[in-house]
């Protein structure tokens, strides 16, 4: 695919581009991408948001042992590992790190940056229940604090005009990601699971305008295209990091593929847009939190909604089986997975639960389990 190639070429040059921009005085804002931090605010402040979303590399996990206990969620540990290894340029060049504190494991990323680095950290607390007014207020207040912090960082004011423009661009991005995703409902999805998730990962690093242009041309390119026909998988879990494509690779090698996914970190929620009128910060809180699809946290007050969403995806994308893929020691997903397995079984949907520690030794057993699932379909 031409657009895909262009996009990856542009990504390769992104780091040196960012270096230049930094030299010119631009501020770089790193964040943990899980769809709780509105990038609109960052762009509107004149800073550049970059998602810190690397994963899949055992050496980062090992490196983190100098700073964190070994039984913290693997994705979270890796983030501190990448910073400590000093080899990932993005982790070294950020002027501020925004961590949406969604649970105690992701919170460790914020704690890790705070305890062990000189980089400024903004802990952006996200309540687990988006149904109450006081939770909405908490989130909204958090956005105002973030807005202040960004204005202080860049020395420029976030005006409504700037914000409105950014909301428009990101709405367009969300819409395109949804339209491309929905193309996979067809019997022969025109885009592979891996390419699709890579689009999300690219969107955390690329300039938003360039990303939207790429998505537009990709959408055109994909129209009328047909891909392979094979067993269809719903991949669901905690984090899908940039560089962690082993499940996709195993599936592709045996003619199956992911046709729809649902992850808390590593994906951009694309099922709803942000209203672009009235109080714009409130509109962001509404789109990113109150009306978020799916709602925050798998379990807790959101259980019913999460289950309904899960089943809806399975049905609409006509999936044959489910792979629950969560990081090792991400306790909440481990427990939620117990319940979702029961739901899936009740619905007659084959289900396997996999936990990854980004360990190369996992690949063998993982392949066997995934192949066994596909054979059973």
């Amino acid at each position: 695919m031409k657009t895909m190639k262009d996009l990856s070429t542009s990504l390769e040059g992104r780091v040196s581009e960012l270096r230049e921009l930094k030299k010119e005085g631009k501020k770089i804002v790193g964040y943990v991408p899980g769809g709780f931090m509105p990038e609109e605010l960052v762009w509107a402040s004149g800073a550049i948001p970059v998602g810190l979303n690397r994963g899949g590399d055992p050496s980062a996990v090992l490196k983190s042992a100098e700073y964190l206990p070994r039984f913290i969620d693997t994705f979270s540990r890796s983030q501190i590992g990448y910073w400590a290894m000093g080899e990932e340029p993005l982790y070294q060049m950020v002027d501020l790190v925004v961590v949406p504190c969604t649970d105690r494991n992701i919170g460790v990323i914020a704690d890790g940056w705070e305890m062990w680095t000189e980089t400024k950290v903004f802990k952006f607390g996200v309540p687990h229940n988006n149904k109450s007014d006081h939770a909405f207020k908490y989130y909204l207040d958090g956005l105002h604090l973030l807005k202040e912090a960004l204005e202080k960082l860049t020395g420029s004011t976030i005006t409504d005009d700037k914000l409105r423009k950014e909301i428009d661009v990101l709405n367009r991005m969300r819409l395109l990601l949804r339209q491309i995703s929905e193309m996979r409902k067809s019997e022969r999805p025109p885009i592979s699971g891996k390419d699709y998730i890579k689009l999300h990962h690219a969107s955390f690093r690329t300039d938003r305008d360039i990303m939207v242009t790429s998505l537009e041309s990709m959408f055109q390119e994909l129209k009328g295209n047909e891909g392979r026909k094979g067993p269809r998988i719903l991949l669901i879990g905690s984090s899908i990091a940039e560089g962690d494509y082993k499940v996709h690779n195993i599936l592709e090698a045996i003619g199956a593929d992911v046709v729809i996914e649902d992850f808390s970190e590593g994906m951009r929620p694309y099922w709803q847009e942000v209203e672009n009128n009235g109080d714009l910060v409130e509109a962001l809180a509404d789109g990113y939190f109150r009306k978020r699809t799916p709602p925050p946290a798998f379990f807790r007050p959101a259980t019913e909604e999460r289950v309904a969403f899960f089943l809806r995806l399975a049905k609409e994308f006509r999936v044959d089986g489910i792979i629950w893929y969560s990081m090792m020691y991400r306790d909440s997903y481990d427990i939620a997975g117990i319940y979702f397995r029961r739901i899936a079984e009740k619905e007659g949907l084959p289900f396997i639960k996999i936990m990854s520690d980004y360990d190369t030794a996992e690949t063998g057993p993982l392949r066997t389990r995934i192949e066994a699932l596909i054979e059973s379909l």
């Binding site: 206990p69 705070e114 305890m115 481990d334 427990i335 319940y339």
Partner: protein
């Protein structure tokens, strides 16, 4: 009967045993406690606890009473409310205060202190929760696993309402939700957000305090719906007064032994007393421990007066983060020649600034959220350092609880802060407080003994 001697060791009066016999037998049968378990319990109580002191016996007895009440709650009470660790105690106390009909408990805390600490058979509950529920080796919380095991096995009742708090961790609310789903029990979730900056500790952000207070009101509304009882502010105030009195009593004991040299009592006993008053959150002892603390205080005062101690005078003093329920671990630390003086539950002077909040739940919430472990990694590390400073300790054992994210993030940073700023040695120790299948005292002994020698040498060098 075969269990009379154990109960006597646990401070039960003979008349009390006679009177309670039918309940005791029913509860023990339900809990599947066999004569061998009772024998083991007797042996462990003699081995690990200071049963020369009547106060310690009474304290153990209160744990046993909590267990009996818990096991029989379905037969004896109209409604059962569970609130797992770390319960927001002012809230659980207020719910317990409303009526005798309602039984409130942190069931896992009771189970680990009785089935585990006294009877030494916690694996029997832990194993039940493994298999198609929790997987071994994934760092699941042993407390929650114990509760799940207890319910699955049927030794403790299925509650009418679960009140999980998300302040310290995600596992509690998630597992409570799972239990709620499996058994059809309503869950009133007490949400919280952990987003403080360490440099601000112990100042707690106003919005965080308000959020917890608002969540508390939501839980109370659900409580009313399930039980038909209303928790008024008067009830909450009264409950809190009783609780504060308990805490003050405990603090007095801690204050008494703080500087006593030689150390008059093992931290096994002190820690167990603290956990009873702070964490059991149970109707049984709520607001009234029957004079146990006063008794213990008096006995200790006498002992100190006689100059008696468990270790030689001048033994180095250390803090620990949490005193494990399994008594052999603290015993091993003391056998190596170290006096455990305090744990991270102690309130530092730094935290005692008066509250600016007016609302009752906001005030209560603030002191809860101020605790380092509910605050953030750096805040907790700062609190740990503050404890070493205020208690003037010779060293610190930062024993982080395996599987507990909240407790485990700070120790490495705390080690750095304490060594740099206070210049005392620190041992970071991975530990499991109650599930000792992989973490026995023996597995930690080499580390602790070496550390003890390092401390003794450091202390001797300082004296010179």
């Amino acid at each position: 009967m075969y269990y009379d001697e154990l109960l006597r060791l646990c401070g039960f009066e003979p008349e009390e045993i006679e009177e309670e016999r039918p309940r005791i037998e029913k509860a023990f049968e339900k809990l599947e406690l066999t004569p061998e378990d009772i024998d083991r319990g007797e042996e462990r109580v003699r081995q690990y606890f200071d049963i020369e002191l009547n106060g310690v016996r009474k304290m153990l007895g209160l744990w046993v009473k909590c267990l009996i009440d818990l096991a029989l709650a379905r037969e004896e009470r109209k409604k059962i409310i569970y609130s797992s660790f770390p319960a927001f105690t002012p809230l659980t106390n207020a719910m317990a205060m409303v009526s005798e009909d309602i039984f409130v408990a942190a069931p896992e805390i009771i189970l680990v202190h009785t089935v585990g600490m006294i009877f030494g058979k916690l694996p029997s509950l832990l194993e039940v929760a493994e298999g198609d529920l929790l997987q071994r080796g994934l760092a699941n919380c042993s407390l929650l696993q114990t509760m799940l095991g207890g319910i699955t096995k049927g030794v403790i009742p299925v509650p009418d309402l679960i009140v999980p708090s998300g302040v310290l961790c995600d596992q509690a609310p998630e597992l409570d939700e799972l239990i709620g789903r499996i058994y059809g029990v309503p869950v009133a979730y007490l949400d919280s957000v952990v987003d403080e900056m360490g440099e601000n500790w112990p100042q707690t952000s106003e919005r965080r305090v308000k959020y917890l207070a608002q969540e508390t009101n939501g839980v109370l509304a659900k409580f009313e719906e399930v039980t038909g009882y209303t928790v008024t502010e008067d009830i909450s105030q009264e409950a809190n007064w009783r609780y504060i009195n308990l805490l003050l009593g405990g603090n007095q004991v801690l204050e008494l032994v703080k500087n006593a040299d030689p150390a008059p009592i093992s931290y096994v006993d002190i820690g167990t007393m603290f956990r009873l008053t702070r964490f059991s959150s149970t109707t049984t002892i709520f607001g009234d421990v029957g004079g146990m603390i006063d008794l213990l205080y008096g006995e200790l005062k006498e002992r100190i007066g006689r100059g008696e101690g468990i270790l030689p005078k001048g033994a180095p003093g250390v803090s620990i983060i949490m005193s494990p329920t399994e008594p052999s671990i603290v015993k091993m630390i003391e056998e190596s020649g170290l006096v455990v003086r305090v744990d991270a539950n102690a309130t530092t002077e730094a935290e005692s600034a008066p509250s600016k909040h007016k609302d009752f739940w906001e005030r209560a919430g603030e002191s809860f959220l101020r605790k380092g472990v509910c605050y953030c990694g750096l805040g907790f590390a700062t609190q740990l350092k503050q404890i070493c400073k205020e208690w003037d300790l010779d060293g610190a054992i930062l024993n982080y609880q395996l599987s507990c994210r909240g407790f485990s993030i700070a120790p490495l940073k705390a080690k750095e802060l304490i060594t740099k700023e206070l210049g005392i040695p620190v041992l970071v120790l991975e530990c499991e407080a109650s599930d000792i299948r992989d973490y026995s005292a023996e597995a930690m002994r080499t580390r602790v003994e070496t550390f003890a020698e390092v401390l003794k040498a450091a202390k001797a060098a300082k004296a010179k």
